[in-house]
């Protein structure tokens, strides 16, 4: 049997402790200690499931990206809402598939990208090529493909690459 090198990710421990405290709605020292013990145990067991280790290199970039995504969720919700309510000529839009060449390979970075794409109205994840070099999205209003690709790479892929690679 092959042995997996196990290690406990400090970020996962911190995150799980935070979830425990949120669940219990407390900042009690005893609860913090109990949460930390549980988090270390869970993080250790999880390391057998996901042996791929990664590190959040740039927390500042991650925070900035979160803000950008929140703003984009609001603006694209308004855009999609307009398309739903529009009548007549304003209702003409072009849904379509868009293939974007991507350089991001880190599985955690790709998972974060999936969360971003899914939570933004107007884009849905439609598949990653087996080689991992092309991402297909379905876009509700695809006006200018090249502009879309440039926008996507600069706004989401570049910060994620800086955070995870």
């Amino acid at each position: 049997m092959k042995r997996v090198a196990r290690s406990v990710s400090p970020f996962l421990v911190l995150a799980l402790t935070a979830v425990w405290l949120l669940l219990n709605q407390t900042l009690d020292l005893a609860q913090i200690a109990l949460g930390a013990v549980l988090a270390v145990g869970l993080a250790w067991s999880a390391s057998a499931l996901r042996p791929v280790q990664t590190r959040l290199r740039r927390l500042d970039v991650a925070l900035a990206l979160t803000m950008v995504v929140l703003a984009d969720i609001v603006s694209s919700s308004v855009a999609v809402g307009r398309l739903v309510l529009a009548w007549g000529h304003a209702r003409e839009f072009r849904p379509g598939f868009l293939t974007i060449p991507i350089e991001l390979r880190n599985p955690y970075g790709l998972a974060a990208l999936a969360v971003i794409v899914t939570s933004t109205p107007g884009t849905v994840w439609a598949g990653l090529s087996p080689a991992g070099d092309a991402l297909t999205l379905h876009v509700l209003d695809l006006k200018d493909e090249d502009e879309w690709i440039r926008h996507f790479k600069q706004r989401y892929e570049r910060p994620l690459t800086r955070i995870f690679q």
Binding site: L22, T118, S119, W125
Partner: protein, 113 residues
């Protein structure tokens, strides 16, 4: 009968957030009716699942905090788990539709990428 009073500083934003959240969810559901193809229909309900739910949860946090007189933040966990799990159902639906379009193109009237 339980009676509690909600201070004005909380009542105003809570009402506004609930109306906004409800409006976004309603428009999202309306989009489900108005869009013509399966792929286009995938998009509008996302509004309800992100902005709609977000507004209602922030309203819930404000309301509970104002009534119980201590910070209530359970809702942050709901937001976290919604964000983490919604890509799974969206991807599954999308990939299933694309697979159907590839294998039986006539059934959807739509061809994949």
């Amino acid at each position: 009968m339980i009676t509690w009073t909600l201070p004005v500083w909380a009542a105003l934003p809570v009402t506004l957030l609930l109306v906004c959240g409800g409006t976004f969810s309603l428009i999202g559901a309306l989009g489900l009716l108005r869009m013509k193809t399966f792929y286009a229909r995938m998009h509008p309900p996302t509004m309800g699942a992100t902005l709609g739910v977000g507004c209602v949860l922030i309203a819930s946090m404000l309301l509970s905090t104002a009534i119980l007189h201590h910070p209530v933040t359970h809702e942050l966990l709901i937001m976290l788990f919604m964000a983490l799990t919604s890509p799974i159902s969206a991807m599954t639906l999308m990939r299933a539709a694309m697979h159907r379009a590839r294998t039986t193109p006539s059934s959807s009237g739509y061809t994949g990428p």
